[in-house]
Symmetry: C4
Subunit: 235 residues, 4 copies
């Protein structure tokens, strides 16, 4: 693998720079149990650059210099223009990369992938209770108001039903891309897609939105599992 | 929105100053799972000022300069005198503000609002087990002694029954105020009101009391959920 | 309350000095969920002094200067000689004090009192399953080896049965003393006594032993509750 | 016990040196609930030295100078050449030592032993559901991909079945060695062995692999227990 240089892309004193922010987020996500054992991932788009955490690195030990950077021109450029412009020589790019890019195509500024057990359990419960074609649905819980109704449509209301599509897992993570994109088409208002027996992809207009939406969803999944244990219906 | 100035109201070297204390408390509450995804809130009254955490900010990243400050004169002044005297221009005031003020009307020095899942589950279990009109009741648990009997009445005893009223949630948080105030009238000794499918409001004479009462209640809600799973009655 | 002076008793640069160690332990116990809402307490005996955390202080904010110190001469002196020699003027001594002293009478160097929910749930399950007279019993779990067989008898073996007596709670904590002492007589090998619907008292020859025994017991209580949920017997 | 000297073996400025890394890992494992009450242990092989955390020390307080060091020559040397070359005079070597060495015999660079409650519960559930001879099996969960197929065989795939052998516990930890070695022979591809009613031994080619494999397994055990509670099968 050739050294692409461009070290300056991951060197910044600004704590909010993606190369500094991704390691901080990964550490926090580790504490939340979202990225156990190097699972999961995070990516941030800033202007025409996409920063991606590498594959196989312990999330709580991630460093700025571990970041991959992808040239991501404005939509008028073809996808083929999206090439790595900074690669750590000793690391592998995340298999989630094409999935993150699918979110950026929809205008996201940040995409988070977790292996949260609550997300996994919810995909299993939905299949058991409502069948393989069903999505996750919950309503009349205040925390739903932390999730947008859809791009430019404001936030969900208390009585609205939150719907998160569920796609089947594939042996290779990159093969999920096609199904993720289909789910995005079928649910144009969603900011998240659950992956059965795997976890979830959550995105948002910026880092704060992606992260708080991911937290609100995880809260709702945990609540849903506990509600099910107590014989309480979700809708 | 006009800049009201008054920056000095949120600038203090004293770690116990409300503008420093609210961010510290919010960070701690985040760790406790009470304010996930910008949910929940905290407010402190100090002399004739009420400090309120803003809406929509990640609770573990809250800063002193994010605080709203409200002029809150002694009771002889009309409520109309209660106006913001410091507003961060880029933030929205918390929708919980009128609910916090209802607690301050009762003499509270601090009010905490959480989205604790234990609180939400307890409101659902009470409805299922005892109906919509029922309040949460528990007795004969040592931790009950961490909750006051009522203003000026000392703490609950081990054999006393703790009763926390439950109000129904409304689509807009500010619309809860009327129901919260009714519950306060109906349960004049309570220091907390549960909101079905939403969370809880807890207040106290000062920050330490509001916080430790909130902790004791959350402990009791978690215990009650676990007791129910194990077939153990609450009273 | 007269100022007893003796400030030097709580001033030390040594992090292992009881006045520094108790705040550090209390903070750690707070994180473990053992001392929520100012519940629980900790006491250390060092030579002829007993250090006790005060009542009503938030455990994660405890400071050295909050400590009470009791003169605790060697056993030949009458209990009446056991008097406070250092009192913070603005704080109340812990209601657990006579219970801690009962442990020191048995030669303990440290005594910990927690409100752990696992301890409370175990006392309720034992009552439901085996009646009010039963103690908690568990065997054939490796962690049992973290608990001593009795003073001077080494540690329990894997196949041994751990037995922890359970006493009924009383409205006033100090009234527990008599029942705690009876349980200590009836179970002369125990290093812990459970209090129904309340928590547990655990002691040890020194701080490290009291703390690790408390951790091992809490581990076993949590495991026992989970085992019961899964239909797995304790012995 | 004679002072063997060799203090330089545990003195290094390098945070990645085993004598610094083991304390850091132990502290992290304490937070994960894996080494409660001095249970569990960790060992790292570096070149011809094996570093082992001592017995009976609180894991979150472990220090570099607490480490035992064993001379561990290349395989052509007889096991009798494996002798301590550094011993803290006031501490006892870990009873897990022969079990760690069994992993190093198989080429491991690091071995972790936890008392995780999820591991213990899984061993009890497997016995109850499938009998004493059964191993733990799970498939079709993404996190399985965090576990290797076997030495030099790459990682397990999503549809592969993860199998972890379970051995019975013995009263003395060192007596487990024979059964651990038998399980290693019977399951030549495994990187972990569960011990019924006790915990797990997990090893890896290096520290990062041992740790992340241990995390992935613990995740799967927790998920398996929760799946069982919800009536969801493991395979």
């Amino acid at each position: 693998m050739a050294d692409l240089g461009n070290e300056h892309l991951v060197q910044s004193e600004d704590p909010e720079h993606p190369a500094n922010l991704i390691p901080r987020l990964c550490k926090q996500f580790y504490t939340l149990g979202w990225v156990t054992g190097t699972g999961g991932g995070t990516s941030i788009r800033k202007d025409e650059h996409v920063y991606i955490a590498p594959s196989g690195v312990q999330k709580e030990l991630m460093k700025s210099e571990n970041m991959f950077v992808l040239k991501y021109p404005t939509p008028k450029y073809p996808p083929s223009a999206r090439q790595y412009i900074r690669k750590p020589l000793d690391l592998k790019p995340s298999a989630c990369t094409p999935l993150f890019l699918a979110a950026f195509e929809r205008g996201a500024g940040c995409c988070i992938h977790t292996h949260s057990q609550w997300a996994v359990l919810v995909t299993l419960l939905v299949e058991k209770l409502f069948g393989r074609k069903a999505c996750f649905e919950i309503s009349n819980i205040e925390q739903i108001k932390g999730i947008p109704k859809g791009p430019g449509k404001g936030m969900l209301g208390f009585h609205d039903t939150l719907r998160i599509p569920i796609i089947e897992n594939t042996p290779f993570e990159e093969d999920l891309t096609e199904f993720l994109e289909k789910a995005m088409e079928q649910y144009p208002d969603t900011y998240a897609v659950l992956v059965r027996r795997h976890g979830i992809y959550v995105w948002g207009d910026n880092v704060a939105k992606a992260k708080t939406q991911c937290e609100s969803l995880d809260y709702l999944f945990q609540l849903a599992v506990e509600m099910h244990k107590l014989g309480l219906p979700w809708t």
